[in-house]
């Protein structure tokens, strides 16, 4: 940013200030820093602290003092030896490996189509693709849940009339039914991000390409895509984080099918440990583990993205 180059009226105003301390930046920063400390740093520190303690109980647990004692990494060991919690990471990673590329491919394709001149009623269709993002995840899942259920779903009925017996809620398919809901929800917003990036590509590059005899497809693949790569990496990063934190959709679908287990995703395990099990300490440890994994994956994506961008320049 070019903060240093701003023009300052000479003398008069500056003289009013004592010692020339520039306090304005700090005033502007204060709200952010305060909120950052209270709602981000403090909770992380609290969770970290809590995760190293456990409530001491004995016997029936009646009339115990219920004091928290330091237990070191016990909660972490317990979390990592919980096969349901550990395998939920595998499940969301598998989910992400499929859902993120499919969703991004759709977003990119839609953005490119909207960017090309061939679409009529562009605004209408753009809005249509975007609208699902405005539907809360719980509502979206209830809506899709209705479409997944036999007896009430027109989709299942249609498939059955064609001789296909579809079970969207079976143990093997329910994960992809959830993926479908999230793809439906977030494709639009990622499309907008990539589309916005496409708008910043200088139009004269297209003219030059056209003069060199490049068709629309070639321009899309060799000019537009490389130019919006940063935006694609950004959406990838957000999608991966979103995948690891999957909660609303599977939690809502659990009321429709028991094939979504109580520890289906890492966040659902945290919910089970804290809200159902009342064990804040174990839940904190699980949350810290989830945070670390997410952080690690995010760094990985950032590093890869920076390498790639270094290479293309």
């Amino acid at each position: 940013m070019s903060t240093g180059t701003s023009v300052r009226p000479a003398g008069s105003r500056r003289a009013l200030r004592s010692g020339g301390i520039r306090w304005a930046p700090y005033v502007f920063l204060t709200p952010f820093v305060l909120l950052f400390l209270v709602f981000l740093v403090a909770p992380i520190v609290t969770a970290l602290y809590t995760s190293f303690f456990a409530v001491e109980r004995s016997g029936l647990g009646f009339g115990n003092a219920n004091e928290s004692v330091f237990v070191g990494f016990d909660n972490y060991v317990r979390a990592l030896s919980d096969s349901g919690f550990v395998s939920s990471f595998g499940r969301v990673l598998l989910f992400g490996v499929v859902q993120v590329p499919v969703m991004l491919a759709l977003s990119i394709a839609l953005a490119l189509v909207f960017d090309s001149a061939v679409v009529r009623w562009k605004r209408f269709f753009q809005l249509s693709v975007f609208i699902p993002y405005a539907v809360p995840a719980v509502v979206a899942t209830l809506l899709w849940g209705f479409l997944y259920q036999p007896r009430v779903s027109p989709i299942v009925e249609l498939l059955e009339s064609l001789g296909v017996s579809a079970n969207f809620l079976a143990p093997g398919t329910v994960l992809w039914s959830i993926a479908n809901v999230t793809i439906w929800s977030v494709t639009g917003v990622n499309m907008i991000i990539i589309f916005a990036a496409l708008q910043t590509v200088p139009r004269d590059m297209y003219e030059a390409a056209r003069l060199d005899g490049a068709g629309e497809l070639r321009m899309a693949l060799q000019i537009k895509l490389p130019m919006v790569l940063p935006a694609i990496f950004l959406t990838t990063l957000f999608s991966i984080i979103g995948t690891l934190q999957l909660f609303n959709e599977p939690m809502t679908l659990r009321s429709i099918t028991s094939n979504v287990t109580g520890d289906y995703t890492p966040n659902m395990s945290v919910f089970t440990a804290t809200t159902l099990g009342g064990n804040i300490n174990l839940g904190s440890a699980m949350a810290i583990i989830l945070g670390l994994v997410t952080f690690g994956l995010s760094i990985l994506v950032s590093v890869v993205s920076n390498r790639r961008r270094g290479a293309t320049r």
Binding site: S58, L60, N64, A287
Partner: protein
């Protein structure tokens, strides 16, 4: 470039710590009670969810100028706030909660023991509801409502196929076979892995319980002979496809009920009103019979209901208890509760005229006669444990595998037992074999 990476990392950190934030919101604080108890009117805060409690509170307040009750209607997830509120010392003085969640609160020192104040109220409540609020000889809650079971069945379907209404579980299986033989699309009941109440009521009816107390240790009985007998019935029903697997409360479930492909619902006294709400088109075709019994044993099941507790740290325990006593045992209080649509745990409530009304949906039958008889036949055997919610959650997962044919009921219960033992010992509690 470096700055960009840094800001990206900050973003990543911010997003990654979401769950931590979520947790921190559940943290506790210090007790802030200690306001001086003055002479003059005392104010009591009451959280509950029974429809019409506002009117009950209004009547109490009019008659008791010295003890004024402020009512807060609980909706949605309000129950989840209770633990944090008690730990923070900001809890109401009287709270309605599920009977199953009592021990989880006791082990966290969140409830006031009521033995001295209300220990001799035992005779005023049904034996089963009283049995569920006393732990190791100590009373922690006052029963409010319960869910004794009855067999709601389609009179037209049973008549059409000439099948007798079953009175034992053996007859129930046979009736299921007869109905299926008459109409392959017809099932006598449904299996809903998520609806644990079906399981609990049958285990309870058979004299079982998930937990028990043995000296200074908890027992885990989820896979004992009482449960295994229930498992046998359900394994047969499932294996012979006499039941359809569908989650309760879903559109799919109500579609099946309305289409008349599920012939019976053996469930709690609070279910009929919900049945009428969602299956109005089937009005007049239902009746309620006593639940089938485990061969000859005169007993009924129960899903468990709700109780009133007085959280720890409450200043005006006696006044709070007086209000709870009036609400749950007096004629006026019970009338409000019954009109609110719940089935009272108090014996006086079972004979209350407000309860004994003819139900047009059930062809004019006074269905609560059946449920009132059942309420007195429920064995006083059920004891909840501190990990009830986890056990219930695990049961859903285990039964999902039963529905998928990956486990039998017996295997699922064995796994449920080891999970429950692990959860209890994980809390630092003793478990007796």
């Amino acid at each position: 470039m470096a700055r960009k990476l840094k800001s990206r990392l900050t973003t990543a950190l911010a997003l990654a710590t979401g769950p931590v934030l979520f947790l921190a919101a559940c943290g506790g604080g210090d007790d802030d009670s200690g306001a001086a108890a003055n002479e003059g009117p005392v104010t009591i805060e009451f959280w509950g969810w029974v429809p019409g409690l506002e009117e009950a509170v209004a009547q109490w307040n009019e008659e008791n100028p010295d003890v004024q009750v402020e009512f807060f209607r609980m909706t949605g997830d309000d129950g989840d706030k209770i633990p944090a509120a008690i730990d923070a010392g900001t809890a109401p003085d009287v709270v309605q909660m599920s009977v199953h969640s009592i021990p989880g609160h006791i082990v966290n020192n969140r409830l006031t023991e009521l033995t001295d104040i209300a220990g001799d109220w035992e005779d005023r409540f049904t034996p089963s509801s009283w049995g569920s609020v006393v732990f190791d000889g100590a009373l922690y809650a006052i029963p409010q409502d319960s869910g004794p079971t009855g067999l709601m069945y389609r009179t037209d379907i049973f008549a059409q196929h000439g099948v007798e209404v079953p009175t034992t579980w053996t007859e129930f299986v046979e009736a299921g076979r007869a109905l299926k033989a008459a109409d392959p699309a017809l099932t006598i009941a449904q299996f809903s892995p998520n609806e644990t109440g079906f399981w609990i009521q049958s285990v309870w009816q058979n004299g079982g319980s998930w937990n028990g107390i043995d000296g200074d240790a908890w027992t885990v009985n989820v896979a004992d002979e009482h449960s295994l007998e229930v498992a046998e019935v359900w394994q047969t029903l499932l294996d012979e496809e006499l039941v359809t697997t569908v989650e309760m409360w879903t559109p799919e479930y109500w579609a099946a009920i309305n289409a008349g492909t599920i012939a019976t619902v053996n469930y709690a006294a609070w279910f009929p009103v919900l049945l009428e709400e969602s299956a109005g088109a089937t009005a007049g075709n239902w009746a309620v019979a006593p639940s089938p019994t485990f061969d000859g044993e005169e007993s009924a099941g129960d899903t468990g209901g709700s109780v009133n507790v007085i959280p720890a740290g409450t200043e005006h325990v006696e006044q709070a208890a007086a209000f709870v006593e009036w609400l749950n045992t007096s004629d006026e209080g019970l009338e409000h509760l019954i009109n609110g649509g719940i089935f009272p745990s108090a014996v006086a409530g079972l004979e209350h005229e407000a309860l004994m009304v003819e139900e047009p949906f059930f062809g004019g039958q006074v269905i609560n006669e059946v449920f009132a008889d059942a309420a007195l036949q429920v064995p006083a055997t059920w004891v909840d444990g501190p990990t009830f919610e986890l056990t219930q959650n695990a049961l859903k997962d285990e039964f999902a595998q039963v529905a998928n044919g990956r486990k039998t009921f017996a295997q699922a219960l064995a796994d449920l037992e080891s999970r429950t033992v692990a959860d209890l010992t994980g809390m630092g509690l003793s478990v007796s074999e």
